[in-house]
Assembly symmetry: C3
Homo-oligomer: 250 residues x 3
Amino acid sequence: MDFVNTSEKDGIVTLSLNRGKVNPLNGGVVEEILSCLNALEGDSAVKAVILTGQGKFFSFGFDVPELLTYSREAFSDFLTKFTNLYSYMFLYPKPIIAALNGHTIAGGCMLALACDRRIMISGKSKISLNEVDLGVPVFTGITEILRFCVGSRNATEILYSGTLYSPEQAYSLGLVDEVVSTDDLTGEANKAASDLANKPWPAFNGIKSLLRKPILQDIEQREKASIMKFVDIWYSDSTREILKNVKIKS
Amino acid sequence: MDFVNTSEKDGIVTLSLNRGKVNPLNGGVVEEILSCLNALEGDSAVKAVILTGQGKFFSFGFDVPELLTYSREAFSDFLTKFTNLYSYMFLYPKPIIAALNGHTIAGGCMLALACDRRIMISGKSKISLNEVDLGVPVFTGITEILRFCVGSRNATEILYSGTLYSPEQAYSLGLVDEVVSTDDLTGEANKAASDLANKPWPAFNGIKSLLRKPILQDIEQREKASIMKFVDIWYSDSTREILKNVKIKS
Amino acid sequence: MDFVNTSEKDGIVTLSLNRGKVNPLNGGVVEEILSCLNALEGDSAVKAVILTGQGKFFSFGFDVPELLTYSREAFSDFLTKFTNLYSYMFLYPKPIIAALNGHTIAGGCMLALACDRRIMISGKSKISLNEVDLGVPVFTGITEILRFCVGSRNATEILYSGTLYSPEQAYSLGLVDEVVSTDDLTGEANKAASDLANKPWPAFNGIKSLLRKPILQDIEQREKASIMKFVDIWYSDSTREILKNVKIKS
């Protein structure tokens, strides 16, 4: 693994994004997360997973400069993989906790939303689905996942405004479930993971399916359509003008 | 236009209901609103729409005394037009802001709920879906739109009780998004409209579709059935007894 | 009726569970509640129903020790009857109020959630969907009903944690709609019942259908699947180990 560090303690595995300064998402990162989660799903010694990041970002979201160099086809493939990843995470049979160690933006926020619980450090870090300000929409699946997490009214507020929320604002909107000091993040994430890991697994897993499967049911066609629309807008001149200005610290 | 005044500033068009003292809705008003919105949808100079009213009412809701004179067929046609109007508004491709200048009752509240944002003046004005107290139900589409705005629990509270809510109560239930002084209404509505109008349009429009299209998807048959049931109850003796007592100031 | 006491006042009928000390649910109790509600549905003198319990429990939930003696087939039949009961209650054409006189646990909480309004006494009584801690999931229908009452986010919190909530916590989560002193329970439940009973019935009933029918629409196959999964987990060794320790005061 180049971009994901792995550590384990008492059956709880922590995956930590580690790509440059801001953990931007490209095809490689998405494949590595998927590959790790696949392996952990099949490993009976693993009871729960924590997803976090190195540095001051959980994730900046899409690696826009790199993705702008993709062909239309490669970019569509990337989006298919990415949307499959958040759908897979949302229905993941074991508990997954997002330990938000810093800024959690756009695609990064989408991965966090697919987890069972989001714990964010207090302070200056922001969390946002700011796609609207980048000139792009989002996808069907993540819209339904966001609605699941925060309700339709808050989902509208979050997506229409593109606001960069403080952890406290995010808590009151339901974007995160808990705000803790930086020092407490690892401990609280492990506690949340083991709380769920200690539940009888067939019960936890059955309940998670009952709550979550209907949310993504029968959306396959709509998800494909939303990806195609996203691609069209991504390649439009007006959006390209905005995206060209996105800089990533490396 | 007899019942809708139109004004424009910086690409934001304000439609103001202007029918008698309380802006009650009949076939003519519904057709005029639809006709205005249709024209504005096709006008590329128009970036956003504000819907408001003249006088102390945003709208009283249905013009009950007039509608009681309609034939059953004409009344069914009116309901079809009205439900089509709120569905069209809910999915309107440009931002629409409801500037609630006064009482916002029943059918008037339904039109407000279909907008992207509701801003209401503080003070003595009330907002209500009081159909239950008039002896009639509502419709499938507006039930789903209400659920979208306030969630199922608050929707139940609002529709079961028929309460006339103060702006502050309405804010805490999610019926309105902002409460401002009368003097600030025009300014705040214009600010909300231009905030959304200034977002890259394909992104805003794409996000609005993702959030809202699923809400009204596949309800055509149920909407027709809900209209037929509404008509049956409207023409029942017990409901007619209640409706006969509804007075409208003109 | 062996397990349900009935009383009537001004067209409001109170059904009071009366089985041992904790009103645990078995096939007999479920059939009696269903039979009472069926009879009251057809009785035009009955305007509303209150469901409450005798003693310190509204209901303990399933009578686990007794149900453990059922054959797999008899247990599946019981679950089908039970899930049919809460679905029938959720769509019941007349108002039903849950007057929660004490602990309201698991299956007991499910019946309460299917009512139009839940009023609970303050004090030491708890309300909970603690299935996860008993090693079992829940069912599709009640998951959707819970989501209807409290939203997906709170539904997750409630079902993942299995917490025994105080009435005040339950109120803030939306599990109950009102918390009153023990002395006020009967009065408040009667007031809530007569408030709804006094609404024009076709309007109330029409609105209730619009709000609630879509929640349980097209879930028949999923409900059957969720019952079969519940049965499989119920009969698994690990869950049986937990259930064997459940004691019921009689």
